[in-house]
């Protein structure tokens, strides 16, 4: 490791590289490589603030009361209580294994798919106990987008129309489905890119497009709540930016709960933040409050990056 500027740079990167020559001769200069594409405009924090304040939170959609989730080997969620409103984005943050994904998956009773999972406490959707509903009805109203985009091995149209077809009594005709599919694709910001090719296989789309397709598929049946499990972790930065824009648009009609590892993303996207640690809900409040003035020490340590 030699000190001094690196001399063998490929010409096109040289213009972008930002060598910060250090004064210490033993430390090699840091070189940041910038992606040479147009960066997505991200709203500066101040604008975000005003927009958030201008919007009044809608009615309460989901209420979690003393939820406990245990698996055979560990307790994932310990007596968590939360409230989720329409028009708001709630971010669940915390280090790996803190239970945020388990909490999210309990909201649409997906934890039931894991053998040995047990649950205590209640989850109320619009005041109704979700345990008293049919799980298929619940999932029609509380939709989920997963970490890895998982479009079905069908055409784009069939993917978006999937839930619509399954949830209706009689087989709807394609003409009846078309406006709904188009609308969903528009709201997901994908329509312009695929309008010519709705019959193409969905798996041919790029990663970011696939995830937006999954979002379109999830919102097509007009759910009340949208759950997102680290939706951008498998995507490149451009697509991440696009999805975050989407979330801003979508929260008008939905309550959104997003689990994310990425603190910067939580800051950009969320209105409310819940910080979890080893199954406990440590702190819950608005984004500004959690990031700028956290009450608990652990929260402060986490958002400052002391551990992750």
């Amino acid at each position: 490791m030699r000190a001094g500027p690196i001399t063998h740079e490929p010409p096109h990167l040289a213009a972008l590289a930002d060598p910060a020559p250090s004064t210490d001769p033993h430390v090699p200069p840091v070189r940041r490589i910038v992606v040479d594409r147009e960066p997505t405009p991200v709203r500066p924090p101040e604008d975000r603030q005003t927009i958030r304040e201008a919007r009044t939170a809608g009615p309460e959609r989901l209420r979690v009361e003393s939820l406990t989730v245990t698996f055979p080997t560990r307790t994932a969620v310990k007596s968590v209580s939360l409230s989720i409103h329409q028009g708001e984005v709630l971010a669940l943050i915390g280090p790996s294994g803190c239970g945020k994904t388990s909490l999210l998956r309990t909201l649409n009773r997906l934890t039931e798919l894991t053998p040995g999972a047990r649950r205590g406490g209640r989850v109320l959707l619009d005041g109704e106990d979700t345990d008293e509903m049919q799980d298929t009805d619940l999932r029609a109203r509380v939709a989920m987008v997963f970490q890895q985009p998982n479009p079905f091995p069908m055409s784009i149209f069939d993917n978006v129309a999937f839930a619509l077809r399954e949830q209706s009594r009689k087989r709807p005709r394609k003409s009846e489905l078309e406006p709904l599919v188009t609308d969903a694709l528009r709201r997901a910001g994908l329509y312009e890119e695929v309008r010519e090719e709705l019959d193409r296989p969905a798996l041919r789309l790029s990663g970011g497009q696939q995830q937006r397709l999954c979002i379109a598929r999830a919102i097509a049946p007009r759910p009340e709540v949208l759950l997102m499990d680290e939706p951008c972790s498998a995507l490149d930065p451009i697509s991440t930016g696009v999805v975050e824009e989407l979330i801003h648009e979508l929260r008008r009609d939905l309550a959104i709960v997003i689990v994310t590892h990425n603190l910067a993303q939580a800051r950009r996207v969320a209105d409310k933040v819940a910080f979890m640690y080893l199954g406990d809900l440590v702190e819950h409040g608005t984004t500004e409050q959690i990031f700028e003035d956290p009450r608990a020490t652990r929260t402060r340590d986490y958002v400052r990056g002391a551990f992750g």
């Binding site: 997906l110 798919l113 999932r139 997963f146 998982n150 079905f152 091995p153 069908m154 296989p201 598929r217």
Partner: protein
């Protein structure tokens, strides 16, 4: 044990000399060539097989062209007549019209696949979706067992259990008298043959389809459940759909197996080259038939007679050709379905 020879050359003996005296290890190129040669041997073997079968069938083709695939006359009698030929028989001795055999093969294979495929798909769904763990532990060895039973055992049970049952309990005396001018109804015929053939090919399809259902990424099924489908519908709408290439492959494999089945069918199908016809109503199921493979194995004794030899080999050529065609069909059938999958 090597004796170290007394050394007179100083350092060049002893251990260093011993190492040099060891056999030089095979070089990679030699090994690659040797192993490649073995592989070539196998490929050549297959080509030899095709060549030999065509050569054996050649007299029939040269004397009868392709008309031996058509119908005309009683195949059993034709084969019997050929038994007596020797030396260089005239063209007339080669008279052969094998359509009843082909028809019998198509009938049995068709029935077996049509009955077996739904059975296999439903059983696979049962194993993967519904079976409680205790039953699953039983069903999987059961499928393996059914696939491993030799065809001669199936044939034995068929001829000693099923055929008498059909003959004594399912065929009425009236039917027997009605058919007696055309053929004798003994119970051996289409029904027992088709049933046993179904049982024989279903395990093959179940194994392939189960494996495909398990290999389909679970993320798809989970996504379907998250959209509000119940687990069965999720499996049907997504996983089964994604397994379509595997189902096609299973059908091809099962058809190939059914086409080539000789032993069981020769024991159970009646060995009379009669063409069962639907016009006979219910009796259609009980009429005897003969398949190509069964005819080969039954005529094998007389293979010294040149005309019979040529006839047998032409039938074998037909089977070989169908097997090859099925392999190609299997490959082609998977192609358009691959469009929608990540892999097939």
């Amino acid at each position: 044990m090597r004796r170290l020879a007394p050394d007179t050359r100083g350092l060049r003996s002893g251990v260093a000399g011993g190492l040099r005296r060891r056999r030089a290890p095979w070089s990679d190129r030699r090994a690659a060539r040797a192993l490649g040669g073995v592989s070539l041997l196998i490929a050549l073997g297959i080509i030899a097989m095709i060549v030999f079968v065509v050569r054996g069938a050649w007299p029939m083709i040269s004397h009868q062209g392709l008309s031996w695939l058509g119908s005309g006359g009683d195949v059993d009698r034709q084969l019997e007549n050929m038994l007596g030929t020797s030396g260089n028989p005239p063209s007339s001795a080669y008279y052969f019209r094998a359509w009843p055999l082909i028809y019998g093969t198509l009938l049995t294979t068709g029935f077996a696949v049509l009955l077996g495929l739904p059975l296999a798909i439903l059983s696979s769904i049962f194993i993967v979706e519904f079976a409680p763990p205790s039953l699953r532990r039983v069903t999987i060895p059961v499928v393996r067992l059914l696939a491993a039973i030799p065809s001669v055992v199936y044939g034995l049970i068929g001829v000693l259990v099923l055929v008498p049952y059909v003959g004594n309990h399912l065929i009425t005396a009236a039917e027997r008298t009605w058919m007696q001018n055309r053929v004798e109804l003994t119970g051996a015929g289409l029904a027992p043959a088709a049933v046993i053939l179904t049982v024989m090919i279903t395990p093959i399809m179940v194994a392939l389809i189960c494996e495909a259902l398990i290999t389909v990424p679970r993320a798809w099924r989970e996504g379907a459940i998250a959209l509000g489908l119940n687990p069965l519908r999720a499996t049907l709408a997504v996983t089964l759909r994604a397994a379509r290439p595997a189902i096609a492959a299973a059908v091809v494999l099962a058809t190939a197996r059914a086409l080539g089945e000789a032993v069981m069918l020769s024991m159970v199908s009646g060995s009379r080259s009669f063409t069962p016809s639907l016009a006979d109503g219910r009796t259609f199921l009980f009429e005897p038939l003969r398949t190509v493979a069964a005819a080969i194995i039954e005529s094998a004794e007389g293979v010294g007679a040149p005309a019979l030899y040529a006839a047998i080999y032409s039938l074998a050529l037909l089977l070989l050709f169908s097997a090859l065609a099925l392999s190609v069909a299997g490959y082609l059938v998977k192609l358009p379905l691959r469009k929608y999958q990540v892999r097939a």
